[in-house]
Amino acid sequence: MSDCKTTQKSGPVTQSGLSSISKVLKLLLGAFNLPQKPAQIIPPFLLLVGAELRPGMSGRDLAANVISRMESDAGIPMGDIFGDGPNAISSAMLIQAQEQVSHIQTKAKVTSVIKPGSVQITAVGGNAGGPIVVQGSNVSLTQNSGILQ
């Protein structure tokens, strides 16, 4: 009989362990971890030509867009109310946008990398034996720096 009492104290029979909050939370959080598709690559030639046409970032334009949509889309009054002076939220948006753009323009650094074999070269030369055509490519990873404007 005493043998049985040991079994009696053993853990309960459970089917899936769902009675544990940790497993429930793990299941729920797992639902949000679906992978996203990578963005499409923009054709390099188009980038080379078109990048020159970009106007660059503007804190004022950014603030104007945000303030406009906050009023029209979210219904938040962004104009001056009851003659209390400038709308504080609008001012805050402007400051925030200008500071963010300024920070990006003055502090951000762009690092790009050139894959080995992606820069192809063809060189023509000559020696006593006649003309020589040399073909080659970059063999190591190459890093470049840039800024955001």
Binding site: M1, T7, V13, Q15, S20, I21, F32, L34, V49
Partner: protein, 500 residues
């Protein structure tokens, strides 16, 4: 990451999904949910989560689905667990055959009726006006397919025999399993105690193993009524009586009895709220002052047939017995196909939906118009919470307590005893915990499925919107590179640009 951080992350992800997929936040602040603590209670957290995602109608249809369709599946899971636990009980050093003293010619197991009837079910006559609320197959007496009706019939048959250990044994099993499994006899008087139940295995089991006896007995029992046509009324009545004391008040249960029931339910609540890794020790079966106060209040409220709605200024709510009986009549009628109904399933679902609406309306009748939607939603949440306790109460009713008591005697010795329901639970912690966790898992599975269904809908909308956004962004970026004006690009992106 701590439990509260993980809970906050789940709620935060959903709040973000709501904004992304529906525009503006509709979500309550996460800190307004009572479950947003380090508590390990999965049910409370999932209920908070689900009520943020689904409204009254969807929660109701989920409950309807469970009561009208899923009970056979739940019953099957519970029976599987019971067989596993009882097999573990008898396969550890004890002779697995039916002990000689339990066999048809032995002295058998002798118990007080109160040892197997913690909820005083046998004080209600199955044939009385309220009998059908808790019994099934109420008119068949000793041939009933419902064990509690069979038990009551034996009590009724023998209650006038005052010879010590008198009365006639009745066999159980033929009506449901095709052959008899045990013999049971109620004696109002015995040499040492009164109101005694004597149990022997039927002679069919003299040469069978204890596991065969246990399994066959479990298979012979229906938890929620007629196994082939469950209407969900028994579980619904159990929940309503647990919450509002509708039947307790009507049959005039004593305050002492209601306190005993509240104590059992308090223990069950603690076990249901425990985490998987918690050790269920003896502390789970004792009460501190706060619990004693809660037990006292619950017993008083049930005695008065009311429930205090704390979310509605401590408003007393009740469900009159007449409404509960009407609802039961409708549920019972739904098990027969009538004109205009395409299937039995549809008939039962519709009746259960109507029943829940009627009960929700009745208990909200004292609330002010503005509070009615909240009171009705809370009613549905309470149905889900109390569902687990109501199932375990059914398992701890005589129909299975007879079997548990027999196994208890085999485990601890023929003369061993337990004082009351709490003592039984304490001495059978593993059994009770396993039952509780099985029931809890069924409930969590249901809530989790509902929550994940809503999260999936939102996520699929988000991912479909993401793909559209990615394409728009790609096109916009390409267009900026070929000199298309910003205003046109913003229109393509769906941004209502009005700025300079």
């Amino acid at each position: 990451m701590s439990i509260i951080d993980q809970k906050t992350k789940v709620m935060g992800n959903i709040a973000a999904l709501n904004v992304i997929t529906e525009g503006l936040p509709k979500f309550k602040l996460t800190n307004s949910f009572s479950s947003m603590t380090n508590s390990t209670n999965s049910t409370d957290f999932l209920l908070d989560l689900v009520q943020s995602l689904a409204g009254y109608d969807e929660l109701k249809s989920n409950i309807v689905d469970i009561f009208s369709r899923k009970l056979p599946e739940i019953e099957s899971e519970i029976k599987k667990t019971l067989k596993e636990i009882l097999k573990a009980y008898v396969s550890c050093g004890v002779n697995p055959s039916v002990p000689a003293w339990l066999q048809s010619t032995g002295p058998g197991v002798t118990l007080k009726l109160s040892d197997i009837d913690f909820f005083e079910i046998t004080k209600i006559d199955p044939k009385s006006p309220f009998g059908f609320l808790f019994y099934d197959d109420t008119q068949s007496g000793l041939n009933s397919t419902y064990f509690n009706t069979f038990l009551y019939s034996n009590i009724e048959q023998n209650k006038g025999d005052f010879t010590p250990d008198g009365g006639i044994s009745s066999p159980w099993g033929l009506s449901t399993n095709g052959s008899n499994i045990l013999d049971l006899k109620f004696s109002p008087v015995s040499t040492t105690k009164n109101n005694i139940i004597k149990i022997n295995t039927n002679s069919n089991y003299d040469n069978k193993t204890l596991t065969e006896f246990n399994n066959d007995f479990i298979d012979s029992i229906s938890l929620f009524g007629n196994q082939n046509n469950i209407d969900g009324s028994k579980i619904l009545n159990g929940i309503i009586d647990n919450l509002f004391g509708t039947v307790a008040k009507t049959i005039n249960k004593t305050k002492k009895q209601l306190k005993k029931e509240a104590e059992i339910n308090e223990c069950l609540e603690c076990i249901l709220n425990s985490d998987e890794n918690d050790v269920i020790d003896d502390n789970y079966f004792t009460f501190d002052n706060a619990q004693l106060t809660k037990i006292e209040i619950q017993a008083s409220n049930r005695k008065n047939g009311i429930r205090i709605l704390e979310t509605c200024g401590n408003l007393p709510a009740d469900i009159p017995i007449s409404i509960l009986m009407d609802v039961n009549m409708s549920l019972s009628a739904s098990t027969i196909i009538t004109t205009g109904i395409t299937s039995l399933e549809e008939s039962k679902s519709k009746a259960m939906g109507d029943a829940i609406d009627k009960l929700a309306d009745a208990q909200a009748s004292n609330a002010s118009t503005i509070n009615i939607p909240t009171v009705k939603l809370n009613f549905i949440l309470e149905l889900i919470k109390t569902f687990m306790k109501a199932i375990i109460n059914i398992i701890l009713s005589p129909k299975l307590m007879v079997l548990f008591a027999v196994n208890f005697k085999i485990m601890y010795g023929q003369l061993s005893e337990y004082e009351n329901g709490i003592d039984f639970m304490k001495k059978n912690k593993n059994l009770i915990t396993s039952i509780a966790k099985t029931v809890l898992e069924q409930n969590i599975k249901m809530l989790l499925t509902l929550a994940l269904k809503h999260i999936s809908i939102k996520l699929s909308k988000k991912y479909s919107d993401d793909t559209i956004e990615q394409s728009k962004n790609y096109i916009s970026q390409v267009l900026t590179l070929v000199g298309v004006p910003t205003e046109i690009i913003r229109q393509i992106q769906g941004l209502d640009y009005v700025g300079a």
